[in-house]
Amino acid sequence: MNWLIPYFVIVPLAGAFVVALIPRRRGWLADILANVCSVALLVAALVVCVRRLHGVCFVGGWAPPVGISMVLDGLAALMLLTIAVITLVSSIYAVQYMEQFTWKAKFYSLFLLMVAGMNGVVLAGDFFNLFVFLEIASISSYALVGYGCRHEELEATFKYLTLGNLGALFVLLGVAFIYGVSGTLNMADFSVRSAGTLNTAGLVALALLMIGFGLKAALVPMHAWLPDAHPAAPTPISAMLSGVFIKATGVYALLRVTNNVFPPMHVTQEVLLALGGASMVIGVFMAIGQWDLKRLLAYHSISQIGYVILGVALGTPLGILGGLFHLVNHAAFKSLLFLGAGAIEYRTGTRQLREMGGLRERMPVTAATTLIASLAISGVPPFNGFFSKLLIIWAAVEAGRHGYAVVAVIVSVMTIASFMKVQKYAFFGPLNPRWRDVREVPGLMRLALVFLALLCLLMSALVLPSVRAVILVPAVDALRAGTAYAGYLHGE
């Protein structure tokens, strides 16, 4: 146990620096090394989830509140599994996609650094380590978004850098307030010390942290960077950003802070419900008018994260279950959508829907997998999106929030409409004569697409009680335990 928790941070970190040593000519060595690291992470994450290995690791042997601790509970295990799966799929896809860029080793180095940062955020047991790993992941992602250095990427990178750094500074200011209020940085210790009521400074700290993490999670009104950053990044990075980055650094941290560290309060619940609802609506309305495929997908990310926040902010067990289920589902189908859009761009060179047409005949695997992902995100049975959206809407009705339930249904209908448009223009319809000679994407990219499509189908099984108990229920329990998180102060 003492070695398993740091393992998730050591392996990608060491991998990143070893890969950075690989010279430009031997790009294939970087491919192998990065994928070996991803597989190693996935195996460890599966073991942790299935055998329910939860616990604490006191770094350096120093016990908290003096020392730094890394906590692995149900929610962390779920996030680690999600990160590991999407990392593996993206790195498989990147083997052939990144051939068009120079010096693959540097790409993989930054990629593994980002994964190390995300794993660290998820495992952090005290605020400052959370901030440090958040910054490691963020800085790597800023560099990765601007990897190609085309003109739109420069502006997107600068905007992303600016707003991302702003979010991180708000988080740091919140951490400073937390230290000033309580004299401790350990999350479990803080939840013990503020067990009564919070004074003004504590509430200000909570507000600052929520703004900072909300900016990282692209909650409306702090979403302005996402529609520019996600399309401009190379496709595997878009998939990682939309699939796990906004969740690990934004949603996870938000959930941890509002449920486990600060006692669950009515006002935070209302604020998160409102922000979630606004995200859902604004995301889908902005998405419908888009003709750039990746920009459309980015706006849908905003909308679906709104669903997740809505589900979890409801506070009921069913709501939290639905929210977390939608979180993992979104990782699967949104990554698949981005990888499919990248496949189209790889072969045809365009992202504009108006320029595509009838690609179903020439790129059958891409068309089929993107169709599966579109059905999943629209909430069509038997794919995973249907079950998670149903759970959220049901939970909203059960909690008496009929307005939010109606909004969720309307947004779902508009999502279906938006993706029908994508399918019609990109894949169905007459074949645009420009694409008459387009071939399907190479083997490894196809493997990644098919794997995620299978996941979209198989993850519906997460609704069954036996499967649910292994993966989702520990996470739900971790959130519902609230300030019992303080038990991690003393180990196990």
Partner: protein, 117 residues
Amino acid sequence: MPYALCLVLFVIGLYAVATKRNLIKIVIGFIIMENAVNLLLIMLGYRLGGRAPILWQSTAGDAAEFARVAVDPLPQALVLTSIVISLGVTALMVAICLRVYERYGTFDISEIRRLRG
């Protein structure tokens, strides 16, 4: 009172980031914000009439006296880390500013703003 001044400095930096049009001024706004937060962190550890939290051989014996007089060393460690992080981000921002200047010949943000919607 000094804490409020740190927050004023933070807001000044925020104003620079939000309203200035020159990319370099935006970077400077970020530097001001980061320095404000670091200053706040350091001041949280201050104790009136305190000493630096370094244990010399001559004063090693009396741990209680040391704990009574020394300033809190934890925020100092936090600020060191934070300075390194902000160094990395500032370097990245300046590199992007240079690339933008290479491409467009200007630092004016409204000239390079083309993404809409």
